[in-house]
Amino acid sequence: MKRIGLFCGLLMLSFQLFAEGYQVNLQGNRQTGMGHTGAGLIMGASSMHFNPGALSLMDKKYDFSLGGSFIFSKNTFHKQSPSMYEAKSDNPMGTPFYFYGATKINDKLAAGLAVTTPYGNSLNWGDDWDGKYLIQDISLRAIFIQPTIAYKITDKLGLGVGFMAVNGDVDLNKALPAQSADGVASVNISGNTWAFGFNAGLSFQANEQLSFGLSYRSKVMVELDEGDADFTVPPSLGGLYPDTKFQSELPMPANITFGVGYQVNEKLLLAVDLQYVEWSAYESLNFDFEAETVPDSHNQRDFENTMIYRLGAEYTLNEKFQFRGGVYYDSTPIPEDLLTPETPGTNKIGMSLGCGYHINDKLSLDASLLYIHGTKREDGYAPTNFYGTYYSNAVIPGIGINYSF
């Protein structure tokens, strides 16, 4: 495991630059401990996110899982050479969470509800940093509420589908290039809305040792029709920049994940996932303001589809303890010259550790620790000519509780 992990690490480091958008893959602490693999595994209620097909193959009557993570992320920006300028973001702690509850209605049919937060972004560069005209701070959050139903076609094959109701919330601040004696002008953009999508999955238990899974999560286009734009401008410009409404939309891209699980022996489980993220749905970020005097804002994004490679392992020490480890490589969807400080993506290497503890045969705890290393990326956003080298990393502890019977 160690050799494989290191080898992959080195291989990935030698890749050329590029990052991972605003996706948050922390939807189960057992999976997170294993490099967030899971599409090819049968993991009870949490399968609703990873592969709803696997839900029908769960072995308990009732299964509940609740957990969350604490994202401590850091971004550093060093301005394009020659420059002494360096900025460090002061990101608020991100707190993605999940809840899964599922039950077997009969031998063939299982149903459940998943509440997850697979997309989000939380970044604060400060009001007066050098990229303030691009972004000062942003908070992006999406909560997915997903009723799911799964059907066991044969003892080996399960199919599941879920309906996703998504609550999207955005709040961002950026400075505007106008000054008064009181300081720089700025705008606050905020909004909250609902959007919908679906997911589906097939799970196949080939034999005692080998399982396969294929999972699809649809794109969800979060369309904001009545967002609020609040301008803080010098009084003499107040007539041109009144507080107004705006329209905008942001895609939560589709995911196709193929996974394999391999039970090497009684003690050791290995998992591999290939997650394809259709980031090309994110072509531009546009704000169309209702007030005619406020110019609309059109910002090129042109993200590219990406693949995430995941490897995970779980070692069962005894009836009480399980230890987990994993690595993944997440390539960036952001093309050259379109890298913004609002989503300073880069190719990322994730390394995770985890453990599970069975308090009794119904109740268990999972803890995970994920370290994400963003490879340094020297790039920028051509339309506003803001270039430099971005560095990032994140330490993400997480904890979850499971109850099944």
Partner: protein, 452 residues
């Protein structure tokens, strides 16, 4: 065995984790290349001095290009940047703003009856009487100075801005600058050699008068003298050239046809110029025609025959000065609406300016190359700004008056940000020439025009 590997892997991961809680950042190391930046001085005109918003004051001195350059050069060895700082409150310019002869101070953008407009504050003449001489001075920028003035002994007696910090009233600017023993200098001082003529609306000719265009041979020998003296002890430096008037808002803001009148005024003017039109037709010159709405201004033009009153309507080939705006607004019902010579650059005058600018810029480039100095192409920079603009760090800068971000409220001198952009262009030229890596200034740290 598997268990042991997992522990090792965990240990490894923990070590990586602890070591990397802060992203590791590559440091940028400034270097001086083949130049010696130990003692930097700046010699030149109002830009170098820190003149902005129509006046000289402490605020402008602390955001001039020379100050910003001096600060950035400290990363590569420059030890200080001492300036003859204004000690009194406020600022002072050279425009008389009332019947008592009061001089202007900084222009301020204010909401007036006609909308947002730059309004001069009252200047503080005490600034002109200050004694700011200090042997440590490193800023030898003199508002109003032409290149020929820098080598003119006794210039302090003619220019109070130099008298403020001159070592004596018989010295010249170059002499004082040389005494500072620079190892590195900026020399951007050529603006007034054409600008003085242009700012006066083209009153004057080629010569040494205040509003004349400097003769090319005189320009060359004066600039050569400056560079020769400053490089005599091995100093290196950067030389700037002259931006064309077509890229400076003072000459581009007021359209030739911004004379807006009602139908009655148009009819009256048409009647008034009926005789003119008959005479003009007989000598083959264009007639004057007025209609309700925007019209071409009537301007003074020396070349129009006296029988036609040396006047004609402006065309797109003429340039009106920024001052034409307030002049036109001062016209009452009984005024003769004509823009005098001092408000207009005619096609012929523009041609003289353009010829001289090209000559001077060729001379500057040749001398800079000859002395092995870095060359700052101010003309190219301003042209780019005034045409497509320049996008820097999230903002699109243009040469537009008030809102463009570069030019201050006098329409000629730079804002803090404009100064930083100039300083960075000089830094790029310096790095190119001397193989140094002087860090650029952060444009967004400096001020633009402040809105009320």
């Amino acid at each position: 065995m598997m268990k042991k590997n997992i522990y090792q892997y965990m240990l490894l991961a923990m070590v990586v984790l602890l070591a990397a809680c802060e992203p590791k950042v590559d440091d940028f190391n400034p270097s001086k290349g083949t130049a010696d930046f130990t003692k930097f001085i700046a010699i030149g005109d109002s830009y170098t001095a820190g003149y902005t918003d129509g006046a000289l004051g402490l605020r402008g001195q602390q955001e001039s290009f020379s100050y910003i350059l001096g600060q950035q050069l400290m990363y590569v060895g420059n030890e200080s940047y001492h300036q003859p700082l204004v000690q009194a409150e406020g600022s002072v310019g050279t425009t008389v703003i009332d019947a008592q002869g009061t001089l202007n101070g900084y222009f301020e953008l204010k909401v007036t009856e006609r909308g947002l407009s730059p309004v001069p504050s009252v200047g503080n003449v005490a600034i002109l009487a200050e004694d700011a001489y200090d042997e440590d001075n490193q800023n030898f920028g003199v508002p109003g100075a032409k290149v020929t003035h820098l080598v003119a002994a006794g210039y302090a007696q003619a220019n109070p801005f130099f008298a403020r910090f001159a070592s004596s009233d018989v010295t010249h600017v170059l002499g004082d600058a040389a005494t500072a023993n620079p190892t590195f200098f900026s020399c951007w001082l050529a603006g007034n050699d054409v600008l003085s003529f242009a700012l006066a609306g083209g009153v004057g000719g080629i010569g040494n008068g205040v509003t004349d265009i400097t003769d090319a041979a005189t320009f060359e020998s004066a600039l050569a003298a400056v560079l020769n003296t400053l490089t005599a002890k091995g100093a290196k430096g950067v030389v700037g050239n002259i931006p064309d008037v077509s890229s400076i808002p003072f000459f581009t803001t007021v359209p030739y046809n911004a004379f807006v009148i009602d139908a009655a005024t148009a009819a009256a003017l048409n009647a008034k110029y009926a005789d003119y039109n008959a005479a003009a037709e007989s000598v083959g010159l264009p007639q004057m025609v007025f209609a309700e709405g925007p019209n071409a201004f009537v301007i003074y033009d020396e070349s129009i025959p006296a029988q036609l009153g040396h006047r004609r309507q402006a065309t797109a080939e003429d340039r009106l000065l920024l001052t034409a705006q307030s002049e036109a607004l001062s016209w009452g019902p009984t005024s003769d609406p004509i823009l005098g010579n001092e408000f207009v650059l005619t096609k012929d005058e523009l041609s003289m300016i353009s010829t001289a600018t090209n000559q001077f810029n060729a001379i500057s480039k040749e001398l800079a190359d000859g002395f092995g100095l870095a060359f700052f192409d101010a003309n190219a920079l301003m042209k780019e700004l005034s045409t497509k603009g320049i996008i820097i760090d999230g903002h699109h800068y243009t040469g537009t008056f008030v809102t463009g971000g570069i030019f201050s409220l006098d329409g000629i001198h730079a804002t803090g940000r404009g100064s930083a952009i100039i300083a960075n262009a000089m830094i790029d030229a310096i790095n190119d020439t001397y193989g140094s890596t002087v860090p650029r200034a952060n444009i967004n740290d400096y001020d633009m025009v402040k809105f009320p």
